[in-house]
């Protein structure tokens, strides 16, 4: 390793950033030209072109390819119709994966949002609020790989007789119990893995919801209080409705993150002991077992699971447009 290694990289970075600035300037100039002629479509085109181009190449094309592949066999050679889908909903292992995924996408967004909201309410206006928030947000900055290492020191099991290096088992021992091989205990191990994701996502929920809470007009809260509403009534009837859209953003974001979850399962159980989920098994099938068709099918199921959220989002948008009109 020498200085030129650093220069190479930073040189590339500099060139890249300058080139990007040039592209932005060019786009801006184009947009300006189009605007002068007052042509909305042309302006929109310029504004959207880079993003849409990137998305077409990097996401739309792969998505279409995946859908096509899901109707083909393991080597993507022969058309097999719905065989892979039949496999996904009849094979006991695949069913287990679907059930697990269903648990994840219900429990994790619910728990993360709820805990985030409770915590945000609890620390709102409290001395040291920033510190409280930073402590809980801390896990957000940690990679999944890092998180798995961290939680290894919590769930590790070292045999009934041995010295425990996992915190959870040590606590059990201190309380007089005998240690448990947590990650092998199906179905509870699923919950333990979810705890890791909740641990990461609550910080995000707290920060967003706490910001939203500060925006709730105090007059409304006061008015409710003077009318004799109890704190829980105020919470449910005033606070929650006022920050509804923030709650939805949090829930949707966590939902999608949960659906795509791969790393935690990969690093902690590899999907063994009944802990496999869609996104992880998809990678297993596609890249390790060379079952490309099945892998693609699981990916399509992932898309399908998001459809309800998309529909909800569309209706939400329609409604808001009606309101603004």
């Amino acid at each position: 390793m020498n200085i030129s290694a650093y220069l190479d990289r930073f040189g590339l970075l500099a060139v890249g950033l300058v080139a990007f600035a040039a592209v932005l300037l060019a786009l801006y100039g184009l947009a300006e030209l189009a605007s002068r002629r007052d042509r909305n479509r042309a302006v929109a085109f310029v504004f959207l072109a880079p993003a849409v181009l990137f998305l077409l190449i990097g996401l739309v094309y792969p998505a279409v390819r995946t859908v096509v592949m899901s109707f083909y066999d393991a080597k993507s050679e022969n058309f097999v119709g719905l065989d892979n889908y039949v496999w996904a909903v009849t094979d006991p292992d695949a069913l287990q994966i679907l059930v697990n995924t269903a648990m994840w996408i219900v429990i994790v967004p619910l728990l993360s949002t709820a805990l985030g909201l409770v915590y945000a309410v609890l620390i709102d206006g409290r001395a040291g609020e920033k510190v409280y928030k930073a402590l809980v947000f801390l896990p957000m900055g940690i990679s999944f790989v890092g998180a798995s290492i961290i939680w290894k020191f919590v769930y590790q099991y070292n045999g009934a007789g041995g010295e425990q290096i996992g915190l959870l088992n040590q606590v059990v021992v201190w309380l007089g119990g005998s240690p448990v091989n947590w990650l092998n205990e199906s179905p509870w191990n699923n919950l333990l893995l979810m705890v890791v994701l909740v641990w990461i996502e609550v910080g995000f929920a707290t920060v967003v919801l706490s910001a939203a809470l500060k925006g709730v007009p105090t007059e409304i809260v006061e008015a409710a209080r003077i009318d004799g509403a109890s704190p829980s009534e105020i919470f449910w009837n005033v606070t929650v409705p006022s920050i509804r859209s923030a709650i939805i953003v949090v829930a949707v974001t966590v939902f999608i993150a949960t659906l795509k979850l791969f790393d935690i399962v990969r690093a902690m159980t590899q999907g063994h002991h009944g802990t496999d989920v869609l996104a992880h098994n998809m990678v297993e099938q596609a890249f390790r077992l060379f079952e490309r068709g099945r892998g693609a099918t699981l990916a399509v199921l992932l898309f399908l699971l998001v459809v309800p959220v998309v529909i909800y989002q569309v209706r939400n948008m329609r409604r808001q447009e009606m309101e603004t009109r």
């Binding site: 390793m1 290694a5 990289r9 930073f10 590339l12 970075l13 890249g16 947009a31 300006e32 479509r41 302006v43 929109a44 504004f47 959207l48 880079p50 993003a51 849409v52 990137f54 998305l55 190449i57 990097g58 996401l59 094309y61 792969p62 620390i123 206006g125 409290r126 920033k130 930073a134 402590l135 809980v136 801390l138 896990p139 957000m140 900055g141 990679s143 790989v145 890092g146 290492i149 939680w151 020191f153 010295e163 915190l167 040590q170 920060v207 967003v208 910001a211 939203a212 500060k214 925006g215 105090t218 509804r244 859209s245 923030a246 659906l259 795509k260 791969f262 898309f303 998001v306 989002q313």
Partner: protein, 315 residues
């Protein structure tokens, strides 16, 4: 502070019993808040303490034993992972790779997303909502399924029939990092557009209208009116994207293969050696990887909060 005035307002006219209940519940609230904060911090604390212990201790006893014998601090693992010439060490170059990957990996998608979000929220054209919903839905395309097609476009180009739409890139060495920038930009766009669109839509329409009447073009409104208003939102999305790019390893290792261009996180998992025997190095390495995003977040927290505040208040 608004909450404080609310508190004072509530105090007027409350009975003794009500006051007692309020103080009690405030105590309980404190306890619950402290418990949550502690639970959330302990695992990371464990990692930090572990990273300072000698290998043998990490292997055989729990990290909490450290407090019984704080003299056993060892910086050996930090030293090893940062500076060793062997494959499991020398993270410095990987740290630099991560920095070089991260900066464009944040700037590019956020800039493009801001433009796209503006068009989607304030320029009227047919199919706008459909396009927005489509982009929203793209969030769920699993990254892993996009790796192969994108990689093959980079390495052999894109051809339809006999026509070459995109030629092969043939990048080598450090230059393969460009592919990582592009890949990160692509994968970051849907979420960034979704969040920014949420913020921009909430901007007051009359301000835009006024600017239009004054004869401002879309590009001028975007630059002079919208961008300043959504700066906090952009900052918070940039922080998101930063965390994601910094912590990613799959994209980095796929699009810039070779030891020389690996980001920090890609090395993390492999540090333990062929048979996973060196896992005691992982705490130190993981902590190095964590420090930077944490510092960045703590420094920029203010912007983060302000940005989110701007977007998500209105019901």
């Amino acid at each position: 502070m608004s909450t404080r005035t609310a508190d004072q307002a509530a105090r007027i006219g409350e009975t003794r019993g009500e006051r007692l209940r309020r103080v009690l519940s405030s105590r309980a609230a404190s306890v619950v808040a402290i418990v949550i904060a502690a639970l959330w911090t302990i695992p990371t604390l464990g990692l930090f303490v572990s990273s300072l212990r000698p290998d043998e201790d990490i292997r055989t006893t729990g990290w909490w034993n450290f407090f019984a014998d704080p003299g056993s601090v060892s910086l050996y693992n930090y030293n090893y992972v940062l500076y060793s010439d062997s494959q499991g060490g020398g993270l410095i170059i990987n740290l630099i790779n991560t920095v070089v990957i991260t900066i464009p990996g944040v700037v590019v998608p956020v800039a493009f997303a801001a433009m796209a979000a503006y068009a989607l929220s304030w320029i009227k054209f047919r199919g706008r909502n459909l396009l927005y919903v489509g982009i929203f839905a793209l969030q769920v395309v699993p990254l892993q399924m996009a790796l192969i097609p994108l990689l093959s476009i980079f390495s052999s180009g894109l051809h339809i029939g006999g026509m070459t739409i995109i030629p092969a890139w043939d990048l080598e060495g450090v230059n393969t990092l460009i592919q990582v920038w592009i890949a990160h930009s692509i994968f970051g766009l849907p979420l960034a557009i979704f969040l920014l669109h949420n913020f921009m839509r909430e901007l007051p329409g009359d301000v835009m209208e006024a600017a239009r009447i004054d004869g401002a073009s879309h590009s001028q409104i975007f630059r002079k009116v919208v961008l300043p208003l959504v700066t906090p939102a952009i900052a918070s999305i940039a922080i998101f994207q930063f965390l994601w790019v910094w912590n990613d390893f799959l994209v980095g290792r796929t699009f810039a293969p070779g030891e020389a261009t690996r980001p920090l996180t890609a090395v993390l998992g492999d540090m333990a050696g062929t048979w996973g025997f060196g896992w005691t190095r992982l705490p130190a390495a993981a902590f190095i990887a964590i420090v930077v995003p944490l510092v960045v977040f703590l420094l920029l927290q203010r912007y983060f909060v302000r940005g989110l505040l701007a977007g998500s208040v209105k019901g």
